[in-house]
Amino acid sequence: MLKLTDVVTHYGPIRVLKSVTLEVRVGEIVCLLGGNASGKSTTMKTILGVVRPTAGRIEFESQRIDRLPSESIVRRGIALVPEARRIFGRMTVWENLSMGAFTRQAAPPAELAQDFERVYALFPRLEERRQQLGGTLSGGEQQMLAIGRALMARPRLLLMDEPSMGLAPALVDQVFDIIQTINRQGTTVLVVEQNAAVALGIASRGYVLQNGRIVLHDTAAALLAADHIRRAYLGED
């Protein structure tokens, strides 16, 4: 479904992604692991066309997307739950969700209403607070709003950038349960995480990114079992 081949990305003169090759197949949850500054968020931004790769190619559903503007990439069915949530704080919950459906203005109103229902069913709190400004929500509610907003685009591929960041452990479990639910409902997921234990727990495969290179990839079970992964990302000795 999504295929990155030898992708290189620069920020000015600095080469952030040196060589990223990875693949996400339809229906999977794939996890991209890496420490700080390993290039995880840059990989996400490169897929979405927010930053341009300087070499390599990115294909989505067998079509090249690395030259397209972000809006066309989103229209093709990729949505992002960004790092640190980045909801629109000065807009209401409802407005945030309808921004998520921005590319679907031609969709029949009934279909959009159905999507609002789906998001409200996943996150009843959002329905209670739909007239409240996004900036007044708690951190966990903002994360739900960010996920809901991405779902409103009806993505076939959902990118999630550190969904566990800044959340209490109970909320982290809840968010990952929801990721599994979304996946079972038919959305393919690529999740970037530092919290390797939780992410590998729900993923089918994982990649490890280090200094802008994919250094390892394997099934989630094998990665969880590998000694050096346990040491590097699970904080075990």
């Binding site: 979405l48 927010v50 503007p69 972000s70 809006e71 989103v74 229209r75 992002l80 960004p82 980045r86 629109f88 704080g89 000065r90 807009m91 407005e95 309808s98 921004m99 998520g100 921005f102 590319t103 203005q105 907003r149 685009a153």
Partner: protein, 312 residues
């Protein structure tokens, strides 16, 4: 006693002036809200709007259409002035600012470019239209006898039209920004441009539309000021622009409701100052307001605190 008698009258003038300041201030504040840049050529867009309105009015009068009711003439002046001003704003953005911000210039670059555009437009109008002032034949449109008495003030039809037109446009803009998809995408780009793009918003188009809207409102302000003061020249955008900029800063630059509020307050303060002080101090009062705002409440009345370094 004398002062108290003219006070209601001055308040009405202040209200009329204030709504027009607010209308022009919207152009500064909308562009700032989305690009964090002061469009110092906005005063010239306002001035050119006044010229387009003058041109239409003169053409109508030359065609001996003086019998036309102002209910029709005013919109016929406003529409071309707003369209022309709006398109001029879009051109400025496209050719004077976009090449700079796309290359990641500092915020100083577009600002200097705006000052350059302002000087260019002033001189272009002076060369093509002449340096002498043009006269709006307002009295042919609004006879001086059209007045109503409101609470001790004698209000002319023209002042009512100014307040009505400016108020209607602000209300329309408010609805557009708060209730429509376009308005939501403008607010989204203003708040987080990258996220808006990830939602699928065409950011460049939204920026161009914002310039169009702000400039069109400035052009409408030009027509109203032309009708009110009856004399226009190529330099009129300078002081009016600074006043409207003051109104935008007073209300909190980047905040649309703030611009409207700032305009109203500035208009009222100015006309009250004229009531109680020597009229020569009118501009001094306006700029004292600017300085006091910047010293004591730099974010303005409705402005929000901006994290240092993030948007500076």
């Amino acid at each position: 006693m004398d002062v108290l008698q003219i006070l209601p009258q001055q308040l009405v003038f202040g209200l009329a002036l204030g709504t027009v300041y607010g209308l022009i201030a919207l152009g500064y504040t909308m562009v700032y809200g989305i690009l964090f840049m002061i469009n110092f050529a906005h005063g010239e867009i306002f001035m050119i709007g006044a010229y387009v309105g003058w041109w239409v009015l003169t053409a109508l009068l030359n065609a001996k259409l003086t019998g036309l009711h102002p209910v029709w003439v005013v919109p016929v002046m406003l529409v071309p002035a707003m369209l022309f001003a709006g398109l001029l704003g879009v051109c400025l953005e496209r050719f004077a600012y976009r090449p700079l911000y796309l290359r990641g210039a500092t915020r100083l670059g577009p600002l200097i470019s705006a000052i350059g555009a302002s000087i260019f437009l002033q001189n272009a109008v002076m060369l093509t239209q002449g340096a002498r002032m043009k006269v709006y034949m307002t009295s042919l449109l609004f006879p001086r006898t059209w007045r109503v008495q409101v609470a001790g003030a004698s209000v002319s039809a023209l002042v009512l039209v100014m307040i009505g037109v400016a108020g209607l446009m602000m209300w329309g803009l408010h609805l557009l920004v708060q209730r429509t998809t376009l308005g939501r995408s403008i607010r989204a780009v203003a708040e987080d441009r990258e996220m808006a793009a990830i939602m699928g918003v065409n950011v460049r188009r939204v920026i161009a539309v914002t310039f169009f809207l702000g400039s069109a409102l400035g052009g409408a302000g030009g027509v109203l000021v032309g009708l009110y003061y009856t004399q226009i020249d190529f330099f009129m955008g300078y002081s009016a622009g600074l006043k409207a900029f003051t109104a935008a800063v007073l209300g909190g630059i980047g905040n649309i409701r703030g611009a409207m509020l700032g305009g109203l307050i500035l208009g009222l303060v100015e006309s009250l100052a004229v009531t109680f002080m020597n009229p020569a101090y009118k501009d001094v009062v306006a700029f004292a307001v600017l300085i006091l705002t910047l010293v004591f409440k730099p974010t303005g009345l409705l402005g929000e605190t901006v994290a240092e370094g993030e948007k500076v």
